[in-house]
Symmetry: D2
Subunit: 165 residues, 4 copies
Amino acid sequence: MQEMVSTSDNHAVNVAQEVDECQPPPPKRPLNGDSREDIDRDFKFSDRPTLEELHAMHTRFVKDRDWDQFHSPRNVLLALVGEVGELAELFQWRGECPVGLTDWSAKERTALEEELSDCLIYLLRLADRCRVDLPAAALQKLAKNEAKYPIDKVFGSSKKYTEYQ
Amino acid sequence: MQEMVSTSDNHAVNVAQEVDECQPPPPKRPLNGDSREDIDRDFKFSDRPTLEELHAMHTRFVKDRDWDQFHSPRNVLLALVGEVGELAELFQWRGECPVGLTDWSAKERTALEEELSDCLIYLLRLADRCRVDLPAAALQKLAKNEAKYPIDKVFGSSKKYTEYQ
Amino acid sequence: MQEMVSTSDNHAVNVAQEVDECQPPPPKRPLNGDSREDIDRDFKFSDRPTLEELHAMHTRFVKDRDWDQFHSPRNVLLALVGEVGELAELFQWRGECPVGLTDWSAKERTALEEELSDCLIYLLRLADRCRVDLPAAALQKLAKNEAKYPIDKVFGSSKKYTEYQ
Amino acid sequence: MQEMVSTSDNHAVNVAQEVDECQPPPPKRPLNGDSREDIDRDFKFSDRPTLEELHAMHTRFVKDRDWDQFHSPRNVLLALVGEVGELAELFQWRGECPVGLTDWSAKERTALEEELSDCLIYLLRLADRCRVDLPAAALQKLAKNEAKYPIDKVFGSSKKYTEYQ
C-alpha cells in the first residue's frame, strides 16, 4: 500500500502504514457458505480502512493528478450514475441471485468488487464536493429510520414494509 | 444513539456507545467557505462510525424487523438505483453547483445528507448481500487506480483524463 | 385530448385531433394472458402517437410554461436519472416478476405506466436538447445491432449472449 | 434496412420497406445553429419509424436470436439502468453543455446517438415485457401533466416549477 501514496502527504502515508499494519486478517468471507444462519451471523467488513481513511487517500489521489478542477458536484454525481450503471450490468441477465452469489465465478466476483468500490469512491467524493460529513450523516439517518419504522408495527410484514418504504 | 439499537445485540450497543464517546467533535464543515484553498485543504469526514460500524448497526436494524427476507442482492440493487435517482432529483433543475453548495438552503442540505446516506446504506447492504468486504475492496481498487493512472502521464490534462477514465 | 394543448399552436392541435381520430382501438393488451406464446405473438403498441407527435406535444407543453430555460441537456439528463430511479422503486422489493406482471394490482400498473411514460418523455426531451433525431438514430442502432450479433453465432446461448452484450 | 430483418417476418419486412420509402429526408438538425430561437423553433424528429415500428423490429431481432428467455422484466430494467449509466458517462466530466451540444465532436455525437437509442430500445422492451402500451400511456401522462401544471400558476417560475415537479 505504501507505494501508492505520494510521500509528500504524511497523513496519507500514515493512514496507509496503519492500514497495512491492521491488514493481516484477510477479507471476512463465510467459511462454509452452506448454512443460511451462519452466513447471516458471521459476515463482517474489515474494520479498516474507515470512510475517512478512504476519503483521505482518494483526495490525495485526485490532488496528485490535478483533477480537482474536473470534480464539480454534478460531474461527480454523473460519474456515480455511470458506476451504478456498470454495477447493474453485472446483474442484468441473471435473474435472481442468491445471497453470497455462490454461483459467480472468481472473475465475476472481482468485477463486482471493483464496481462496488467505484460506487463507494464516487459517493464519498460527491459527499466531499458537497461538504457533507458522510459518516455523521449516515449515523443520523440510521437513527431517523429507527424512529420511523417501529419494530412492532413493521415486523416481518412485506405489506407493511412496502407501504412504509 | 444508544436508544436506537436493540439491547439484545451487545456488539451493536458497544458500537453505539463507542460512537457516542467519540462524537463530541461536530461535523467538520468549512469554517469560512470563502477560500477555495481552505475548502480543499480542510475538509474531513468524522473518523467514526466506520463502514463496519454502520454495517453492524444496519444489519441489526434489518434483523430486528425480519426484513432479511426482502433483501436479495437484486432487490437491494434496485433500491440503490432508486436512491441514486432521488439524489439526482436534488440536482436536476439547478445547472452547475459550486463546491460546497454554498447557495443551498438548510432544508435542501438536510435532504442531500439523507439521500447521500441512503445511497451509502444500500451500497453497504448490497456489499453485505454479495459477501464483499467493501472497505478491503475499496482499498484494493484505490491501489489499482494509482497504478493505472501514472501521475506524469495524466497530470492536469482533461484530454488524457477523459481518455483514461 | 384537444383541451390539453394550447390553441395557439396549430401543429399541436392538429396532432391531437389526428391522434383523437385514430384512437378508437383501445390499448392492445393480451386478451387471455395465460399462454406464453399468445402473449409473445400478440402484443403491439398503438400505432400513434409517434415519437415526433409526443415530442411536438411536449415541446408545446414546455414552451407554454416558459420552462425551456430550465432544460439544459444535463438538467434533463438528471431528471431522466430521477425517473429511472422511480421506475426501479416499483420493482425493488418484489423478486423476479413474470412477463405481463400478471400479479400486479391496477394501482401498481397505473404507477408503472406513468413512470415508463416519464422516462420516455425525458428521454425524447434529452434527445431534443442534444439535437438528436431519436427515431432515425434508433433505426440506425437496430441495424448496427443486427450486424453485430449474427444469428448463427449467438442463437439461444446465454453464454454467447453475455459475452456479446 | 431490408437486409437487417429476417425474411420470415412479413410484418417486419413491410415495416422496413415502408420506413425505407419514407426515409429520404435526412435527420433534421438545425441548419445554422447560431440562433437560439431558430434552434427552438425548427427541431423535429423524423416522423418514422414510430414507436410500434421500432418495437416490431426489436421484437423480431430478439426472437430471431431466441433471447426472449433472458428478457424478464427486471433483467431488462437492469439493462436500461446500465444504458442510462453509459449515457451519463458521456456527460460526466464536461460541466454544463449548451443546447445542441455545439462543441461536441462527430465521434462524441455518434456515441451519444447510440446511447440514447439503447435507452429507447430497452425502455420499449421493458414496456413490452410489462405489457404496457407505451405510446398510449405517454399520451395519457402528457394530458395528466397538462392538468397538473396550469399555465397561469407555473409560468416561467423556477420556484413554482421546482415545487411542482
